[in-house]
């Protein structure tokens, strides 16, 4: 953790800066390389990891095309004889008078809203920690960074009791407020601010008489935008992944996240096997569009980690 607390680090080099060196290196090392470190062997090892990664996703993709009996018979890694995607989708969105659509909408609110607020708060805080001098700064910063190490579940149950006292459980706020805070985002934002915003620029803005907050929104936020995207993506996925928090806070079916809804259906499979199909199709409907959406963003995310000095 000492590394996380170490804020004075040189900015990372952009990852593509050494794209040109690979052919030379590969050629030079050609002779001394044992067979199992050869190009083919290395690619094969990565391919094995790739197949392992794809296996469950392929199964899911094919499962969407199937009827319930087909799920239980036949090869899991081949598509259905008939194509039942539309029937499956229709059943998914009409079950329980359209519950699933509602859950998706809720999840979108939690993940998009929560990540947006968390990003803005982290970026402002990271910028303030980087660009201002004030009493006890490093102590405050250490306190925030210590928050990274706190297991979430240690705070969720007391948080539930606090929310219950305020009659706030079973509202969207009970999920949105806790996910709007991400100490790790502050760590990244401070590194982005140090790397992206030259101090002279702020001095210039100050001499022009712009207020500190206006300077942040007009200059700081704009220059930190690429880093902010990374923080947003990290937090979006974290909220999307968070099952325990809504499980504790929400008991009203209308406010369920997709994960909670699928969990409820999955628990009902023993009473009604039909839910098996709905759970599978529901999993695919929530996962596959997001996968396609994230493939182009993935590079941005990687570059953001490098700039954040997480290495």
């Amino acid at each position: 953790m000492t590394h996380l607390l170490d804020t004075e680090r040189p900015p990372a080099r952009p990852e593509d800066s050494r794209g040109g060196r690979s052919p030379g290196r590969a050629a030079r090392s050609g002779k001394s390389t044992p067979w199992w470190l050869s190009r083919t062997a290395a690619t094969t090892l990565c391919a094995i990891a790739g197949v392992y990664t794809l296996l469950p996703l392929t199964w899911l993709l094919f499962a969407v095309t199937k009827t319930l009996p087909e799920l239980y018979s036949g090869n899991g890694f081949s598509p259905s004889a008939g194509f039942h995607v539309w029937d499956n989708l229709q059943d998914l969105f009409t079950e329980d008078s359209g519950r699933f659509g509602r859950w998706m909408l809720n999840t979108a609110v939690y993940a998009l809203g929560g990540a947006l607020i968390a990003t803005l708060l982290s970026v402002a805080a990271g910028y303030a920690f980087d660009k201002f001098a004030f009493r006890g700064k490093e102590k405050w910063y250490a306190l925030v960074i210590a928050g990274v190490l706190v297991p979430h579940t240690a705070i969720v149950i007391p948080l539930y009791l606090m929310m219950a006292n305020l009659q706030m459980t079973d509202t969207m706020w009970s999920v949105l407020i806790p996910v709007a805070v991400n100490p790790f985002g502050v760590y990244l934002a401070r590194a982005y601010s140090a790397g992206a915003i030259p101090g002279e620029l702020l001095e210039a803005a100050r001499i022009d008489g712009a207020g500190e907050v206006r300077t942040f929104f007009a200059v700081g936020l704009k220059m930190m935008a690429p880093g902010a995207v990374t923080i947003f993506l990290i937090q979006f996925i974290a909220i999307w992944n968070n099952f325990f928090l809504p499980m504790v806070m929400i008991t009203d079916n209308d406010l369920f996240s997709v994960a909670q809804g699928l969990f409820t259906w999955n628990s009902a499979v023993s009473q009604n096997p039909e839910y098996t199909r709905l759970v599978v199709v529901g999993s695919a409907v929530t996962t596959i569009p997001l996968l396609l959406l994230f493939i182009p963003l993935q590079r941005r995310w990687r570059a953001g980690l490098a700039e954040g000095g997480l290495r």
Binding site: A12, R18, P56, V156, T215, I237, T287, L310, R311
Partner: protein, 306 residues
């Protein structure tokens, strides 16, 4: 009034209000969602509820001293739960980090064709929520549904992914590795990319082979990244909840409602309404996380000094 303050002081005051406005909202919410709940959990853990008389008046909150802690530390359910997550973490964390490091080193050697393609491919599971990953794998673990079990059966190899305690542990580790591998590969890869070229070239001139360079030159340089990845994974594995909850729904596994400490905390709070005990378990998870984090960082810096 304004004429009385010098320009310098006015500016300084403006700067202070700037810090307050930029940092204040975050710190306020951080306090409310991290510090206050943590303190509240500690307070709760020192109290318990007692029914006076026949309980008409409802429970009263009374000071319990360390009673809740004594109870937890002698509670077999809690202790076996802790044992399970430690065993799970003991298998999961080293396997994950070792696999991730090897794949990241392979991708970094430029020996691999289509590097970008593998990056994208391996990253995909990170976007799949843990709950959905567990659901998919549950089907791949279920006899009758799973093509994997069918395939292994036809090879004469009969496996039970859900029935035995050992099988379930393996199955959970597999779900977790599937979900986290790509993320950690890329994390370590990003670190490897920042290793100075000159260091590597110097080692090569000294006659070091690729393997020697990978383990003696590159890997030590990314130790901080590996440490952070290890820490996050350890803290995550202590909180194991979602995946066993899903595998439990199969009805075939030995997983009960208090299988992990986290499940025990949930069950104490919402099945038996014992918030004080739930808070105690939460505090103990946090303490365990703190102790392990400390041990890992100490171990790491100790190694670095040598």
């Amino acid at each position: 009034m304004a004429t009385l303050t010098s320009p310098g002081r006015a500016k300084r005051r403006q700067r202070h209000s700037g810090v307050l406005l930029l940092l204040g909202p975050f710190l306020l919410l951080f306090g409310l969602t991290y510090l206050v709940p943590l303190c509240y959990a500690v307070v709760l853990s020192f109290f318990r509820e007692r029914f006076s008389g026949i309980g008409w008046d409802g429970p009263r909150r009374v000071f319990a001293g360390f009673d809740n802690y004594t109870r937890a530390l002698t509670d077999e359910e809690f202790l076996t739960g802790v044992g399970r997550v430690l065993l799970y973490g003991g298998v999961y964390v080293p396997v994950l980090i070792a696999l991730a490091a090897v794949l990241a080193l392979l991708l970094d050697t430029a020996l691999v064709h289509a590097r970008r393609f593998f990056h994208t491919l391996l990253f995909l599971p990170h976007i799949v929520p843990g709950l959905i990953a567990a659901i998919i794998w549950l089907y791949l673990y279920t006899p009758g549904l799973s093509p994997i079990i069918d395939g292994l059966d036809s090879l004469g190899w009969h496996v039970d992914f859900l029935g035995s305690a050992g099988g379930v542990l393996f199955s959970l580790v597999n779900v977790a590795i599937w979900g986290a591998l790509g993320f950690n590969v890329i994390l370590i890869f990003v670190g490897l990319q920042a290793v100075p070229r000159t260091t590597i070239d110097a080692a090569r001139i000294d006659g070091a082979g690729e393997l020697r360079i990978a383990f003696s030159v590159k890997l030590p340089q990314v130790r901080p990244t590996v440490m952070v990845a290890t820490l996050f994974t350890i803290i995550g594995s202590l909180q194991l909840y979602t995946e066993p909850m899903i595998l439990r729904t199969s009805g075939e596994s030995p997983i009960d409602t208090a299988w992990t400490p986290n499940m025990l905390a949930y069950a104490s709070a919402f099945n038996s309404n014992d918030y004080h005990y739930a808070a105690t378990v939460s505090v103990l998870i946090a303490v365990l996380a703190g102790v392990l984090s400390y041990a890992v960082t100490r171990f790491a810096s100790g190694r670095a000094l040598r």
